[in-house]
């Protein structure tokens, strides 16, 4: 066995432990030589596997393939499916959710999933305060989630929350018995789970090296069953150099790579006969956070001056060569709740000058660009250049996201302006509006420190009612107000440009998770 599973650095024991438990050992015998393999080269290193500590879309493959959640997003535009859930009951006040989970859902070690696992996973997220913690912290108190019987779990919310079902897609259920066995000094198994796996998902961890990536094998016993021609081995590698990823796909060493390559690299891929490309408008808006807390940014004229000073066409169509689509508001165009007729700002230096002249006490501004994300730095330079033309001094600092992120929730330390993306963690307009601009979310998501009573009112109401048509009207109004108030500088919506080797027959793209959900990928035999 050691021949097939070479002992490997620190992770050997963990990987082997997972193995012997899953009974995968036999699957790797020579009889299965013709197994279909799919290799993804990702632009992020897979240096962490804990589903409750990760929350980025870049590394969602870890969660999607090795774990299951109560709900799951599929297709584009995204549709929410009941995944582990068999039955849902919601109390009339919208605060108590009772779920019956499916029968015979098995973890990779053969244990049957029970409601206790769901409770443990919820508590674990609330205790670790990482990953998807922000989605749950306002509505669920620790200790309030109950296992009524082995298959029934009950969540009691502190207030009605219309998107609760949607955010449950980030409540990845871990095998509580297995994690508990590996706890150390009350760390909720954080050390262990950072390099092992305790899930029930379609693929089970076979090998892991934080410096390389991870290998998985299909979990035959997955509760959702399998189609006719599923992929047997899925491998995910962190490959930082863009040129290597592109070259690797061209040579067929990798089956795909991240869907957000620079236009020049994408052009090379499109010319290559061995590559198939898919394009889809995603739901990931790029914008500048404006810190309304700090004068003179609390002045609408100041903000409008900034909005008119950004060269949208130059950035979207020239710097990014049209790989993105102009998005006039904060809600991505394809998402419901984004008004189709919304008028955005244009690059107009005269208007910018006019608005700037209305501002008292103008001071130099500071942009906090994200180091390691060229687009963020380039947008910062674009705005800086525009501002220079209207006589406004702007300074750029470049910091890693991990340094910028916490300052987002600290109004005094936050930068004046931050160019970043708002990805879809769940496909509901709340993800872009209430979460980002409701004043009740100060220090917890509303990094703009924007406050408008009407926006607050609409966002709150839209979380209580569940009817989508009623909610749509509210979110459209919010969208318009945000543009009118110049609450942020809204720039573009991202397009997904997937490049795959020719033998990939079909993918099932969903903006939440891009095309990293291997279950839905089909290859030619």
């Amino acid at each position: 066995m050691t021949g097939k599973f070479p002992p490997l650095t620190i992770n050997r024991r963990a990987a082997l432990a997972g193995l012997s438990a899953t009974g995968l050992v036999g699957m790797h015998s020579p009889a299965f030589a013709a197994r279909q393999k799919f290799v993804t080269a990702n632009n992020n290193p897979y240096d962490l596997l804990d589903p409750h500590q990760l929350f980025d879309i870049g590394r969602i493959a870890v969660r999607l393939n090795m774990y299951d959640a109560l709900t799951r997003w599929v297709d584009n535009p995204p549709r929410l499916e009941n995944w582990l859930i068999e039955k849902v009951t919601i109390s009339p006040d919208g605060k108590v959710y009772t779920f019956v989970i499916k029968q015979n859902v098995k973890f990779h070690d053969g244990t049957v999933m029970t409601s206790a696992d769901v409770v443990y996973s919820m508590e674990r997220i609330l205790a670790l305060k990482k990953g998807a913690y922000g989605l749950f912290k306002d509505v669920i108190e620790p200790g309030t989630t109950k296992a009524l019987d082995p298959r029934t779990v009950q969540f009691t919310l502190t207030k009605p929350f219309a998107v609760f079902m949607a955010v449950l897609s980030e409540l990845w259920v871990v095998n509580s018995a297995l994690v508990k066995k590996n706890e150390k000094n009350g760390d909720w198994g954080a050390d262990w789970l950072s390099k092992s796996e305790a899930g029930s998902g379609g693929y089970a961890l076979r090998r892991y090296d934080p410096a390389i990536g991870f290998q998985t094998a299909r979990f035959e016993g997955h509760f959702a069953g399998w189609g006719k021609n599923p992929i047997d081995d899925a491998e995910f590698r962190g490959v930082l150099e863009t040129a290597t990823r592109v070259l690797g796909v061209m040579k067929g060493e990798f089956n795909t790579t991240d869907g957000y390559l620079p236009a020049e690299q994408m052009a090379r891929m499109k010319e290559n006969p061995n590559i198939k490309t898919w394009e889809a408008e995603s739901i990931r808006t790029f914008y500048f956070i404006i810190n309304h807390w700090k004068a003179p940014l609390n002045d609408v004229n100041m903000r409008k001056a900034l909005c008119y000073a950004f060269d949208y066409d130059g950035f979207n169509n020239k710097i990014l060569s049209g790989t993105v689509v102009r998005n006039n508001g904060i809600i991505p165009n394809p998402m419901w709740g984004a008004p189709k007729d919304l008028q955005g700002y244009t690059y107009d230096l005269d208007k910018a000058k006019y608005h700037l002249s209305q501002v008292k006490n103008v001071r130099p501004l500071q942009i906090g660009a994200m180091a390691g994300y060229p687009q963020s730095e380039q947008a910062a330079q674009m705005l800086q250049a525009g501002c220079a033309k209207i006589g406004l001094e702007v300074k750029i600092v470049s910091e890693p996201y991990t340094t910028i992120a916490p300052k987002l929730n600290d109004r005094e330390r936050a930068h004046d302006l931050i160019p970043l993306w708002r990805s879809a963690y769940f496909a509901d307009p709340h993800n872009w509006t209430g979460f980002l601009f409701n004043s009740s979310n100060f220090d917890a998501g509303n990094a703009s420190y924007y406050k408008n009573p009407r926006v607050d009112e609409l966002c709150n109401k839209a979380l209580i009612i569940t009817d989508q048509d009623q909610r749509r009207v509210m979110y459209e109004e919010v969208s318009r107000i945000l543009v009118e108030d110049a609450a942020g500088i809204f720039i573009n919506n991202t397009k997904f440009h997937g490049a795959f080797t020719k033998n990939v027959k079909s993918i099932r793209f969903c903006p939440i998770g891009d095309a990293q959900d291997v279950r839905w990928i089909e290859m030619q035999g």
Partner: protein, 333 residues
């Protein structure tokens, strides 16, 4: 006996050096930042968590007491938990040590293979055109930004000619681990294919790292040979009528080699330091790439642990080379 005393003296000098290194890292991590608890907790921490950390690490204690605790943790092999992965940093560092060492040792060998002959040739052709060319090349080798050279090599050999991989350590997963050196492990397993692959991945990073090191070695070797050539000993041998060839092979090369050996510690240190940048360009999964990723993630504990770890490795390697040299050098015998 004298050798033993010399070796013991070097070993005795190690603990205070390590202590000093710890003191420097302690200063950088605990005294320079305005609020070390805040930095160590990671920027995502709530005020309560920061306070808890302050208590836990005793950051409210007098500095001397803090230092003692810090020291105690290090002696126990505890370099802290990565803020990012939640794993003990020392685990990641040890896991990546082999990759860096494989690269550094390969580069060292290549540098000696290039550097010593060139140095000798340069000295024997002193001030003639061959010497001038070698010296110019040496100068350029020392003045080049390693990361730039790496990119040029990638551009030419990997992207244009396509003969070497752009980056990475191996296509997929390494051979069964015995030493952690992919090339050697593949040989031990008798796996020629993996050996070839590992070698192909090793070429460019090794070359990039070896060029400045080779340049340094050329300079030392050249100086060493020139010294030997002008020594009374060689003069005497020549007078004795020994053929020039014999003198060069037997006496001059030996002294040149020993001269080079004295500098190997320095060169090896530069290699380890250079690895930070080179590993980043080639995504070579060693200590350097770990440091770079930690920078991107502001993983403060990891960076401090890396500094301490690399510093210690550097000090120990130097010590070993010092001792080896003492044993080899006939003058101390």
């Amino acid at each position: 006996m004298r050798i033993l005393v010399l070796a013991l003296r070097r070993i005795a000098w190690m603990p205070p050096t390590l202590l000093g290194l710890i003191a420097i890292v302690f200063t950088i991590s605990r005294i320079i930042p305005a609020d070390p608890a805040r930095v160590i907790a990671g920027e995502n921490a709530s005020p309560a968590q920061v306070e808890a950390l302050r208590q836990k690490f005793g950051l409210d204690l007098p500095l001397m007491q803090q230092f003692m605790r810090y020291l105690r943790d290090i002696v126990n092999g505890d370099l802290g938990i990565s803020l990012y992965s939640q794993r003990p940093v020392v685990e990641d560092l040890l896991g990546r040590l082999a990759a860096t060492f494989e690269l550094a040792i390969a580069a060292m060998c290549l540098a000696i293979m290039i550097g010593v002959p060139l140095g000798v040739v340069s000295a024997l052709h002193r001030n003639r055109w061959l010497d001038q060319v070698i010296r110019l090349a040496t100068m350029a080798g020392l003045a080049m930004a390693a990361f730039w050279l790496a990119i040029l090599l990638q551009l030419f050999f990997s992207m244009t000619l396509g003969v070497t991989p752009v980056q990475g350590r191996i296509d997929g997963w390494g051979p069964d681990q015995i030493t952690g050196f992919y090339t050697i492990d593949a040989l031990i397993n008798g796996d020629g294919e993996t050996f070839g692959k590992a070698l192909r991945y090793l070429i460019l990073p090794t070359a990039t790292l070896a060029i400045p090191a080779a340049a340094t070695i050329v300079r030392f070797t050249r100086a060493g040979v020139l010294n030997a050539l002008s020594s009374n000993f060689v003069f005497y041998q020549t007078a004795m009528g020994l053929p020039r060839r014999t003198i060069i092979w037997k006496y001059i090369l030996r002294s040149a080699f020993i001269g080079t050996l004295t500098q190997i510690g320095l060169v090896f240190g530069n290699l380890l330091a250079g690895a930070v940048v080179i590993e980043t360009v080639f995504s070579w999964p060693g200590l350097g790439l770990f440091a770079y990723n930690s920078i991107l993630q502001s993983d403060y504990n990891a960076i401090m642990a890396f500094t301490l770890f690399t510093g210690s490795v550097f000090i120990v390697v130097n010590l070993l080379i010092d001792i080896a040299q003492t044993l080899l050098d006939p003058r101390t015998r």
